[in-house]
Amino acid sequence: MKTKYYLLFLIFPLLISCSNDDYQNVPIDFKVPSNFPDLAYDFTNNPPTEKGFELGKKLFYDGRLASDGIVSCGFCHIQENAFTHHGHTVSHGVNNAAGTRNSPPIQNMAFQTAYMWDGATTHLDLQPIIPFTSPIEMNGNFSNAIAMMKNDAQYKKLFKQAFDGGEINSENMLKALGQFMALLVSSNSKFDKYRRNESGGTMTADELDGYAIFNQKCASCHATDLFTDNSFRNNGLAINPQVNDIGRFRVTQLESDKYKFKVPSLRNIEKTAPYMHDGRFYTLEAVLDHYSSGDVNTQNLDESLNNNGTLGIPLTQTEKAKIIAFLKTLTDNEFLTNPKFAEY
């Protein structure tokens, strides 16, 4: 059975390459998983196609877009870690420049309303401008990237196949990246199967207990089956004086936004260590210890974490262990190993 499919995969590209370099409008049908909230991304402006997705993936993994020819998007966003930079508190870009924030996962982006830890941008298509042009990330330049692609036979062909008119420009480049990112959907964890009553969705007693505790103590912020309410909050991390990251204040310059960061999704959280906007916690245990006993009453600490002067969330060791057992049911191996999203 497997070999048969494998053969098909070998033959199929041959068949396609026999055809031509024309625009190939083979739409990809985007299905919203039944346990997910509503889509935020408007697919009518950028309808995904097979070739658009393929081009987006090629761009995502191409280090030649960066000024040093090495640091691609995929450099800091590794699939097996839900597209985070595993093991890096903060990531380093071109010329070994270090940033101040932990690279967030790329998954279920089409359901989110703001991107970056501080919500600096609100449109998925345009988001890549930030890492692409940032001097400490890819330090890229659109003119240079476009010139490079116009001299590359594969890009010339893919742009033609992906877009009507086939122009190699910043619009089509960002549309392709948008298609690739929008289609990175993680929705087949054990938890999803449990929620949709599918086979493989049997949770253990500890996992179910953990889910109940989570719903009681964590779900007001980590809401819906995507585990974020898309809001910005200060969760009481001690301020690192060396960085003094002011969070969303950078975007709004409102005092009320100082030290607030986006509530992250918890999907594949087992695989996305280290945690928090600056990657300060290396384990899930350290994260829960922070909530039970490490909260600091800094400016704009979230109300839910200050109960008449008692900070944080009361959690026993058993409760923590059960929450972690539950969080591990959010690991979606199908997503983490899907060859469609892989570099090679």
Binding site: D42, N45, N46, G119, A120, T121, H123, L124, D125, L126, Q127, P128, I129, I130, T133, S134, N141, F142, S143, I146, N169, S170, E171, N172, M173, L174, K175, G178, R248, R250, V251, T252, Q253, L254, D257
Partner: protein
Amino acid sequence: MKFKLKNIAIAMVATLALNSCSSDDEKITGEGDITLEFDNVFGSSNLILDTQTNTTSQGENLKISEVKYIVSNIVLTKEDGTTYTYPKSQSYFIVDETDEASQMIDLTNIPAGNYTKVKFGIGVDQEQFNLGAAGQGDFLTTAQNEGMMWSWSAGYKFVKFEGMFTSSTVTTDTEFMVHTGQTGTDYNYAEITLTLPEKAMIRTNITPDVHIFADVAKIIDGTNKVKLTDNNMGGMGAMIMGGTNLPLITANLQGMFTVNHVHND
């Protein structure tokens, strides 16, 4: 079928005949071009970069080194009130004080007629932003090359106004940078409508030139007064790139542009 065609043809001839009877002596047909000329000034002086000291009503002395802004979404209104919207995908321009060609915005293939108003945006409209990459064409590339990409928020700088300043309390030359664009609280796009002092008569053989004065003083010294001195953070320079000042500056843009005259030749 033949009869139908014949009928339509007759009807068309009749309509044309009626039309020409009702119109003025001059029958205006075809398409023509128009040029919008953005001439940057400071108060009642021509803008001279770097060397000229310009004084605001707040007693601040500015030596301006850079002025750039995005002009977009141009709509022309005819004397009968009908409007012509320039194709959106071709309607984004960057005016740069150091590049004379950029100050002459040539619009082509516009229905001939007598135009009395021009409307344009400063910045990139939110409708376009919400479309994401769709419809941006090469403008992102252009904006990056012109230093008008607001990289940190994945958007555009709408207005860029930079130089050095002094005031009664800031006595040594100190840098200032004013950038507007979308922030987390405000979109900061401005829409400007100007009435032309004389009609712009677009004809197949006449390309009117609408000479617009853009008084850059108004950016900080308009209806709203934004003092650079008050924004001089620890003496490191006045960096106005966000917060409550941007909506004030955006409102000031309404008073920045005036049409000095129109050439019809």
